[in-house]
């Protein structure tokens, strides 16, 4: 069994850059939508200009008493600048790493969320201060803050759904002869099924949920309980995946049914076994996107199934017995080419 070179080193030559226009398109319209949200907030604030105090509360101390003030215009500008900064971060990810549709979806959702979040913060901060002579009396509502975080998830989700998936890119060349294969007779069917688990995910998740619950209890701020709930939801989707290699290709799906992905057999350039170092290769654990369109489901360090895919993409999942999976996937890729 050959071990593949580190992910990122080998790149398919043909069509490697075909994703760039798609990444530019997704980044451009989602940045625009994000900015429009922030500008929309500016328009609303302008309509309120006669009702707002000259200095509005913009920051609150821990007890919920305002301790920072600025003019409404300055607040709007801060919101706009933050939108540009946040959105720029997501745009940079999309433009440099957006070879896979899932990465472009993160960019689009991130840009739209940034703009909508900043708009919600600005409007939510100023709405209760209309008609107030003394802004130092205005309180900060946890529910409003919660709404500002959660409500923008709706347009963000829509934006992610609007990003088209990767177009079918069947490989033009055969699977390399030196790639491992499974000996199957003509007409013989085979499937490889395995659960990918392990790593620090479960422990980290339990500790994070416990600590944030404790923090919410200690501060007696019930809206803060949403943090452990969201964290628990995130960890439930991220700590166990099922991996399946069958005639259709490779399917990796969270034990919670979502998220998941499918690599069609005819887009497999080569499957192999690799050693993954979570932090160095993928910057952490969970569903990862990294440079050069590399996507990884990284639950632990060590052995992983690595699939080099057409269009310069790659997908890795940390799973035991990856050699068997790689061999069968190469064989299924052979079959897909001869169909």
């Amino acid at each position: 069994m050959t071990t593949a070179p580190p992910p990122g080193a080998p790149r398919a030559r043909s069509g490697t850059e075909a994703w760039r226009p798609r990444a530019r398109r997704a980044t451009a319209w989602s940045s625009l939508v994000g900015l429009l949200f922030a500008l929309g907030a500016a328009v609303v604030v302008r309509a309120w200009r006669d009702e707002l105090p000259a200095q509005v509360a913009s920051h609150w101390s821990r007890g919920g008493v305002p301790d920072g003030f600025m003019s409404p215009t300055a607040l709007v500008l801060v919101g706009l600048a933050s939108t540009v900064a946040l959105c720029g971060l997501f745009a940079a990810i999309g433009l440099t790493q957006g070879a896979a549709a899932s990465t472009r979806r993160i960019t689009a959702a991130g840009c739209v969320w940034s703009g909508a979040f900043m708009a919600a913060v600005v409007v939510g901060t100023l709405a209760p201060q209309r008609g107030l002579a003394d802004p130092s009396q205005v309180g900060l509502s946890g529910a409003a803050l919660l709404t500002a975080v959660l409500l923008p998830l709706v347009p963000a989700g829509i934006a992610a759904a609007l990003v088209p998936g990767d177009p079918a890119m069947p490989a033009a060349e055969a699977v390399p002869a030196d790639a491992p294969r499974t000996a199957l007779r003509d007409g013989e069917r085979a499937v490889w099924l395995r659960r990918a688990t392990g790593g620090p995910g479960l422990a980290v998740g339990a500790v994070a949920v416990a600590l944030t619950t404790l923090a919410a209890a200690l501060t007696a701020e019930w809206t803060m309980l949403v943090v452990p709930v969201l964290l628990a939801a995130l960890f439930v989707t991220m700590f166990a995946f099922t991996v399946r290699v069958d005639p259709s290709g490779l399917t990796v799906r969270s034990a919670a049914r979502w998220p998941g992905t499918h690599v069609p057999a005819d887009e497999v350039v080569r499957a192999s076994v690799t050693q993954v170092r979570p932090l160095r290769d993928y910057g952490g654990w969970g569903w990862r996107t990294a440079r050069d369109g590399r996507v990884g489901v990284v639950l632990r360090g060590g052995q992983a199934l690595l699939v080099q895919r057409t269009g310069g993409r790659s997908f890795a999942v940390t799973v035991d017995d990856a050699a068997e999976a790689a061999a069968l996937l190469n064989t299924m890729a052979d079959r897909a080419r001869s169909r």
Partner: protein, 116 residues
């Protein structure tokens, strides 16, 4: 890995049964390990779900699997230890090779011995 050869003389369910027994014998399937759901396995191998269920039932009846509602098919903790058989088979294969016997002749000898 699960394989099905429709061209084989063995019935489809028997092919699945043989693979689970082999997996347990080789230690690739450990006690407590959960097998894929009948629905998933049937879909992946283009089999009727009843074929897979039949295989699981045969394996439950001989004590290899436990079928639990909600948890599906789990390798039984009492699954027969086949290491002795494994060792004897390895010895038999080596002896047959030394004697220059074909696979077919060796298999016939084993079949005969089993029916004795």
């Amino acid at each position: 890995m699960w394989r099905i050869d429709p061209a084989s003389d063995d019935p489809l369910y028997a092919q699945l049964v043989a693979q689970v027994r082999l997996g347990v014998a080789h230690g690739t399937l450990r006690p407590g390990e959960r097998l894929p759901s009948a629905r998933e396995l049937a879909a992946s191998l283009e089999l009727n779900m009843h074929t897979v269920l039949r295989a699981y039932q045969v394996l439950r009846d001989d004590g290899t699997l436990e079928l639990r509602r909600g948890r599906g098919a789990v390798v039984a903790s009492t699954a027969t230890d086949l290491t002795d058989v494994e060792r004897a088979v390895a010895d038999l294969a080596a002896a047959a090779r030394r004697a220059g016997l074909s696979v077919q002749t060796t298999t016939t000898l084993v079949t005969e011995a089993m029916h004795r």
